[in-house]
Amino acid sequence: MAEHVFGGIRIRNLYKIFGPDAAAHIDAVRNGLTKAELNEKYGHVLGLRDINIEMPSGSIQVIMGLSGSGKSTLIRHINRLIDPTAGEVLVDGVDIVGMNEKDLREFRRHQTAMVFQKFALLPHRSVLDNTIFGLEIQGLSRQQSVDTAMRWLERVGLKGFEKKYPNQLSGGMQQRVGLARALSNDAPVLLMDEAYSALDPLIRTDMQTVLLDLQKEIRKTVVFITHDLDEALRLGDQIAILRDGEVIQQGTSQDIVLRPADDYVANFVREVNRGRVVHVEAVMRPLDAPPAADRPTITSGVTIEDALRILATAPDGDITVVDTTAKPIGTVTFRQLANAMVSTRETGQNAKA
């Protein structure tokens, strides 16, 4: 039997209006009624406007935005903790907007798992009992659940803490429990709602590493909400930037940093450490003649910072950039790389001025 391949998440023309008579205003909003007008005239709040996002299976989709941008509203549409006013949410090809209560419960039990900003652990249950919560809801026997839960607890670094209560753990460790609880479900979709926003910076970086390492293995479709651009750039295979309920830019971290869609995004991007985000091929000179054969090479997809580190000891002169099949595609100099880290930042500022 061929194994079913998870089809990813597709959000189409999604609108959300908050208020007692939301459906009545959907056409007006479609025809261009602004958020401010809607609030002033009808006392309704526009949560999301015409969201279209494709999240391919097995990748990390980051949704970034400041508070009030609608990012938490958006993620809650994927497991329908919030009902949309209009639009479609297709998970693995099935439109979950049309599901009845029972189907929706089954969907939530088996297709999605969620990690929360405030952890949302059960204070009266031990770490282990919190971790098996999702499996318990699915109706699995305790024996089976405990085996799975223990495996994930060990995987997130909580071996030996099973009998503790959440209140006895630090924030970072509590969120590890939240992560283990979500992973135990073994659902193809992992929803992370500002999962790391409540953690202090060092622990946050730590947890990002945990997620990236795990993702290499589990290949889930991860939807990660954050207000932190550095986090977004580090984690996201794809990033969508949300403002006032609208997507203002979608793309890879390269797209966002190198080609910000507007001043709003450019403003965010200015403070970013480009060396960690921009890849060498964005800086290189495309090949016009065959490269000298004895030059050191570097593979495309490596960040400028890593390239500098690798090449710090290489001799001066051109460096050949090769693609993943070792075919030369361009050349770059150490000086160009160093410049890219600084000067692009300046161009960003010039553009603004």
């Binding site: 903790l81 039990r109 949302a120 652990l121 059960l122 009266h124 919560f133 809801i137 209140n167 006895q168």
Partner: protein, 295 residues
């Protein structure tokens, strides 16, 4: 200007007729259905008699041991257990053992009944704002209406004895149980409930795995209040034939026996303190996991 100084009231004859009609109507209802209603309460009566027989017929050292064991299991506190022992020994030494046992069995049955009725009503109230709007004023009436007033119809229907006493006590003591169950469930953290939803919990799973466990400390406070209020009704209940510590107090009031009154009053205080400390310590112990905060 007569109406200005004297409140214009319903015509005397009409008022008399109204009262008479209601009285006669109720009397007629009592005559017609009294027996049926009484038979409905027979299981309750059996429960009451069984409980009383158990507490009064069991030898006192065994009862004492049982109470101490419950106190220990609930509190894990030697001082509370020792306090219980001293109180019980003093009560026995001053020859109030039998009455105390009758009162304890009565309070026990009242509490069980209040929990059995109050918990579901409280849960229902917490889930539905309409139910809350209807039940809340009823609870207000139950708590403020002088208990003698509802003793009248109860006695008319069921006569004098244990069951009417039980009903009177439960009416008075059940409101905190209902209110605090409702409150406890409504106070459960929304984030945790959302998490339960996100994992696909149905309403039953949410109730038993999230809401009730998290509301338990508040519900325990409700049970504690219910016990205290039931004890407060002991003397009034004794007026309609409930045996126990209330009857000697009643006798003391009628005959001005100061010492008899104060001894039995103190015995009521004694068991009230036992019940209170034990149930509170138990409620406290249920919250242990909340207190150990990460340093």
């Amino acid at each position: 200007m007569d109406w200005f100084f004297k409140f214009p009231h319903m015509d005397d004859a009409a008022l008399r007729a109204l009262k008479k009609t209601i009285d006669e109507g109720f009397r007629g209802f009592t005559r017609a259905y009294g027996d049926t209603i009484e038979s409905l309460f027979t299981p309750l009566q059996h429960f009451l008699i069984y409980a009383e027989r158990f507490t009064t017929k069991t030898p006192w050292p065994i009862i004492t041991l049982i109470i101490l064991a419950i106190a220990w299991a609930a509190t894990r506190n030697l001082r509370i257990v020792a306090g219980c022992l001293v109180t019980l020994l003093l009560i026995g030494y001053f020859d109030m053992w039998d009455d105390t046992m009758r009162t304890i069995s009565m309070i026990f049955v009242c509490t069980v009944l209040s929990i059995a009725i109050g918990l579901p009503i409280g849960i229902l109230m917490s889930r539905n704002d309409k139910v809350q709007k209807i039940v809340n004023p009823i609870l207000d009436v139950m708590q403020t209406m002088p208990s003698f007033v509802y003793l009248i119809p109860v006695v008319m229907l069921l006569g004098i004895g244990k069951v009417p006493g039980l009903i009177a006590v439960v009416i008075y003591a059940i409101p905190p149980m209902i209110r605090l169950t409702n409150l406890g469930i409504r106070l459960v953290d929304r984030d945790v409930l959302e998490a339960a939803d996100a994992f696909g919990a149905d309403s039953r799973q949410k109730l038993f795995k999230v809401q009730l466990p998290l509301a338990l400390p508040t519900i325990m406070a409700g049970i504690n209040q219910t016990i205290m209020m039931a004890l407060a009704m002991v003397v009034i209940a004794s007026m309609i034939g409930v045996q126990g510590l209330g009857q000697p107090v009643l006798k003391a009031i009628a005959n001005q026996y100061f010492t008899l009154g104060i001894f039995n009053g103190l015995a009521i205080v004694g068991i009230a303190i036992i019940f209170d400390r034990v149930s509170q310590a138990y409620g406290h112990r249920l919250q242990k996991h909340r207190e150990i905060v990460h340093g």
